[in-house]
Symmetry: C2
Subunit: 153 residues, 2 copies
DNA sequence: TGACATGGTTCGTAATACGTACCAAGAATA
DNA sequence: TATTCTTGGTACGTATTACGAACCATGTCA
């Protein structure tokens, strides 16, 4: 796929960077997906628990975070609730809204999976020395800080 | 969640890096997923087409690349074949095996989505100047080079 | 030749995600 | 106040994705 026209230099120039970002994205997602699967969780449900770790969103906020429709969240939360991982709580300020919170079992599970994720990512960053890790972290954070709204987890 | 014990420094020290990697992974995957969805493709099928762009794998290799079972690949390829995106071809060296190749429509689609992906990632890397982009790419590539087998796309 | 392994497919099932439709509660307007 | 309209969530039906189990064809090895 040689591109003979020198137009649109910005996109063309970053092809290598884009490939690296995409590949890294899949490699990391594969690790998280594997860890989730070992505990019977889909990647989406892992993200839900990760969000609930430090927030108490309502159903619709949760759906917005993840880019899903609200009826999808309903089903996800319903199944997670049956398994004792999360709980629904009425929102104190809006009687229409339903907040989602971590149940005790869900809180234990999310901490455990977080530890497993750190271990799973360790070999990936192993080839980088501490200074390089700091550089990589800083570059990623600058990249992510500029993005509009939704948080990734 | 303070960890009072100073054990296992490697994992603890990289918590910020791990968070940045995971968040970046979700942000990038969301872009690719959106682009795929606009063309009626799942993220998995996007990856399949991306692999076929420069390879002619057999069914089982494709499944291994993506970490899926072979019967999952059968269904995916069957549906993609019905839509005229890919084609099956007998493997010349092993009569049991089936190679998967891009059909013309699939080749056009994958190039188009690749261009869209480059555009979608451009705003993400926008806050980084050219030198930082080179540094980020180099760091990611060093990270990915060390990993065992499977390619991310 | 037989026994076993490998490569794919088919079948049945569960989870995920969406569109549509619906109800309850709040907000806005007459 | 009564009437719309919007927002928040759920229920239903359907398509896709993914897996385990079972199966057949081909290859490999004893």
């Amino acid at each position: 796929m040689k591109r003979s026209s020198p137009r649109r230099p910005a996109a063309v120039r970053d092809e290598g960077l884009a490939d690296a970002l995409v590949t890294a994205s899949f490699v990391i997602a594969a690790q998280l997906s594997r860890i989730g699967a070992e505990h019977g969780l889909s990647l989406t449900l892992c993200r839900v628990l990760g969000i609930l770790r430090d927030r108490r969103p309502r159903m619709s906020e949760l759906a917005d975070y993840l880019g899903l429709e609200k009826q999808t969240m309903s089903g996800l939360i319903a199944r997670a609730e049956e398994r004792g991982l999360v709980a629904r709580a009425p929102n104190p300020e809006d009687r229409r809204a339903t907040d989602v919170i971590l149940a005790p079992a869900g809180a234990r599970l999310v901490e455990r999976m977080r530890a497993e994720a750190l271990e799973a990512l360790a070999p990936l960053v192993a080839p980088l020395d501490p200074a390089d890790r700091r550089r990589l972290q800083a570059l990623l954070q600058r990249m992510l800080a500029a993005r509009d709204g939704a948080d990734g987890r």
